[in-house]
Amino acid sequence: MKRYSVFAIAREALRYHQGWERAWKSPEPKKSYDAIIVGAGGHGLASAYYLGKNYGITNVAVIEKGWLGGGNTGRNTTIIRSNYLQDPSAAIYEKARALYETLSQDLNYNVMFSPRGLLMLAQTHHEVRGYLRTVHANNLQGVSTEWIGPGRVKELVPIINIDGPRYPVLGALYQARGGTARHDAVAWGYARACSAMGMDIIQQCEVTGVTQSNGVVTGLDTTRGHIGCKKLGIVVAGHSGQLAEMAGFRLPIEAVALQALVSEPIKPCMDVVVMANTVHGYMSQSDKGEMVIGGGTDGFNNYTQRGSFHHIEETLRALVETFPMISRLKMLRQWGGIVDMTGDRSPIISKTPLGNCFINCGWGTGGFKAIPGSGWAMAELMAKGEPGPLAAEFSMWRFKEGQFIDESVAAGVAH
């Protein structure tokens, strides 16, 4: 792998950039691999990357039905935070956030992690108490967050209306090292690094069946033939149900549409990420100047990547009330993603009823921010065959026991 740097750019500029090599190879599948990951989204690629980096397992294929990074990795609002309430969530999201801090250097690919700070506004007394609880929990979890008053909120977000007659801003949960990253770059950077380790990223290859022998996985039937494997990781978000069915088990998962939109670009006016959960809206400004806005999920199963427009309207109403200046901006583009929601809205990183088959899914609306941590935990699970501390609580059997990891109990929602 040729390293990226400003010198490489200069060198290439002199020859009209004709010398750049492929960021990742596009090989034919081999007959078998030590491990196969299904799903070349952020989570799948990160799982493969840490299998190689942390455990030296590089005879790995990542199989993708479409094009890598083409699912929710490329259609989210790029928010990164770890201010979660429950211990298992805080642990894995903070692991992810910490890995994001050095990801550009680790991958030699600028993923543009920008710890610009993240605010969750409290607009009711109930929300104030919820966020104070989160601050206390984070304090014990090693997650750096603080409670700030309305004056400080206004300093950080000059365009906010803190005296709204309906829901004045009473304060905010502030994570100074939360922020955003360039979503596509995360997938591309991991893919390039995986490829450089000798892993095969096989796009346009759809899984049609899971083969097994004596309750242990042996490989996959795909549109490009059978591919054998010793271990299998299923990391396919909204399509987890289909893959699980092929592997012979059921998941507590439902697929629903989540929507987002961006405005036309304007000059910089908001250098932090703001989430307002009472009124269900969140917004940040991208490096291009677009206001990036996230909305709510539909309440019904949907695989169309199109959500119901009234959720967009609800979100915009709330944001116009919170940031009055945006009313004369224009919505440039809106889109939907299919998110996989579990019974407690927390993810599953787990062994499965099928031997040597592992699953990582259920990230719901919170997947992007977790990518490095999720990959790290999944790699450990696949390499050792047993979950490490990061994944231990995210077993798929927790639902039977009633051991929820419920983040909705804090005023914060899982965006």
Binding site: H239, I253, N302, F399, K400
Partner: protein
């Protein structure tokens, strides 16, 4: 922005007049059921990419619950029927089979 015809009042309601209520025809398991049965009742969901049976309430309307057969991949609606039914009615099943010959059927 779906339209579903409420079988209770006959209004072709748009989605904003309705609230969704998840998978239909779930069998309730209460005290005395096994852990597995109870877990399945609470959490296991068919979540199909294709024909799906689900609950809706005509919330901004007559207030009644009803059931709908809908495709989650195309959003085509095959029919709506009263909530007081423990499995999809034969006429709706027949209609789906006619339209989707490779549908494996309910269950």
């Amino acid at each position: 922005m779906l339209i579903l015809e409420c079988p209770c009042c006959g209004v072709k309601a748009e989605e904003t007049e309705l609230s969704p209520g998840g998978e239909a025809h779930l069998k309730r398991f209460g005290p005395g059921s096994s852990d597995e049965e109870f877990e399945a009742y609470m959490f296991a969901r068919k979540n199909p990419k294709g024909v799906h049976f689900e609950r809706w309430r005509h919330a901004y309307g007559c207030g009644k619950w009803f059931l709908a057969a809908r495709c989650t991949a195309t959003l085509e609606v095959f029919g709506t029927y009263p909530a007081q039914t423990s499995e999809p009615p034969a006429d709706i099943v027949a209609k789906i089979k006619a339209k989707r010959p490779d549908w494996k059927g309910y269950k």
